[in-house]
Symmetry: C2
Subunit: 359 residues, 2 copies
Amino acid sequence: MPTAPRRYAIITDGFLTDRRAKTAHGVMQYGRDKVVAVIDSGYAGKTMREVMPRLGCDAPVIASMREALALRPTSLLLGVANQGGFIPPSFREHILVAIDAGLEIVSGLHELLRDDAEFVERAKASGARLWDVRVPPPDIPLYSGAAARVPQVVVLAVGTDCAIGKKTVMIELDRAAREAGERSEFVATGQTGILIAGKGIAVDRVISDFITGAAEQLLLGVSAEADYALVEGQGSIAHPAYAPVTHGLLFGCSPDVLVMCAQAGRRDIEEYGVPLPPLPEFIALHEALLRLVKPARVAAVALNTMDLDDAAARAAITAVEAQTGLPVDDVVRFGGAKLWRAVRAAAAETAKAKENVRA
Amino acid sequence: MPTAPRRYAIITDGFLTDRRAKTAHGVMQYGRDKVVAVIDSGYAGKTMREVMPRLGCDAPVIASMREALALRPTSLLLGVANQGGFIPPSFREHILVAIDAGLEIVSGLHELLRDDAEFVERAKASGARLWDVRVPPPDIPLYSGAAARVPQVVVLAVGTDCAIGKKTVMIELDRAAREAGERSEFVATGQTGILIAGKGIAVDRVISDFITGAAEQLLLGVSAEADYALVEGQGSIAHPAYAPVTHGLLFGCSPDVLVMCAQAGRRDIEEYGVPLPPLPEFIALHEALLRLVKPARVAAVALNTMDLDDAAARAAITAVEAQTGLPVDDVVRFGGAKLWRAVRAAAAETAKAKENVRA
């Protein structure tokens, strides 16, 4: 990958304001890398600030990859997530222009760049890197225990189910940490998170024996400048199908602090109808399981209240605080500051924080 | 795979009495499939009963694959596990004879049959199947929940660490069950187990998202004639590297009964120096974790006392019985009858057994 920060051109041609461009939206709103151009002929001539102000992105919208080259992008991101995950045919010519210019091509689609003979051949000629973010790197080593010795305080999101906001919680906590003047890094473990972070491993695609090793490699790759590594969680230890992935992150990350992510009113694993135990019992089980390899505690509950109005959300937060005795908040609705303080306080209890974190 | 039971020719040429032939020895001693010939020129003319009486196998030792064809094998098993996992060059000619005769070739070696162009081409011509048992089948589906509804009582081995005898315990319980007149089937989840059972999936090689699905497929593949499925466990929920594999079996098998495998005197995860909690706490944690998806209990402790003499072994068994309140035995040293009775009694407590198991 580029050694300097990326400068992204993002192609969404025809989908810019569509839900299918959510990958592009996520990177513009939350991404660590600079977006220098958006390629979408329908909005060419405008800026992203004009088209979608909520994203907070000032990149110009440009009609073609060829014109976007003038803005010196390092990478072209395919900014859509369509049904079937194929590479939209209209993208092809733009991708080839970017490959020939030696740009890195970044895709989270099911249809892999590496399986396209023309892309591979032209990339070989120009030296362009093709990065299919769904595919884990080859030769992930076995877990060695080195993750337990990284200098950063490692914070891992765990949760009651898939798709309840573990990624968003950690991105908001990362933002809150920076706003509090701390040096933190979001660590991505799934496809969208990887596109936002600009690096990461889709751990659910790793061979079972190596998932703890993959988590460890992610921690070893955190910037030496960071004092906190905020790891995107996956699944749930209660999920009938995906629990092994969750367990792999729990052990492989060797976390110092856990954040429990839950959704207000949810009482089961949605897809399987498996009822969940009461949250305090579920939290204690995480701590007991993790204690097999290291002690660490759940510092806070991130409550997703998206289905509630503000008053009901506040009532739900108060109820879960009473139930768990922990700080609780909806970081999307109310910001991450409160939960960040809770994480920071729990981190300060750990030997690692005491020794290593710069005051 | 052959629809009728296999008739194995096993090649060990030059290694028959060597530790490197332990794969061959395991299949001869414990395998479900008939061994009709052993190919090893050094002992040609003798029977296995003469060469290694302890294996209880009467197959003749024959100098070549070509001669062995007269005994109508369905399959040729490469019976060695050498350093590096390569296919011994002296096997090559015998393998080609077997392929040309349309036999299935079965190998647990690292060097894959499918990567050998000549084997692949000749197999294509003759219709021979090449089975690399380390490689999971393609297209394993996601976990569906069907494992929870198989008619068999599912018994899963769990344990304190890798390599403490989980496979052997389940094979001995399978034997004890049959001796007690029950219909049971050993379900293999690792390479050596697969060679013994003649089927199975090396679950630690499955992509993380699909390990529960792989376990489920194994249960769905158990013979309708069997009342008990005795599943080989892998790793330990306390193992820093391999716990996700263990968790995958715990959820994916939807077990009705667990058997805890432990080694007398062992207090930690050997490779990582991670101390283990006391056995009663460790057992309770398994039950709490499994309760997230279904209730089931640890019915017995299989204690590996291989480092002790008989008197010390008996004392260790008594001590663990007092500590856990469960039946404890070393099934290798003293046979599986006692623990099988404990499994049978725990199974009888489950709704499934009450409804489904024929008396």
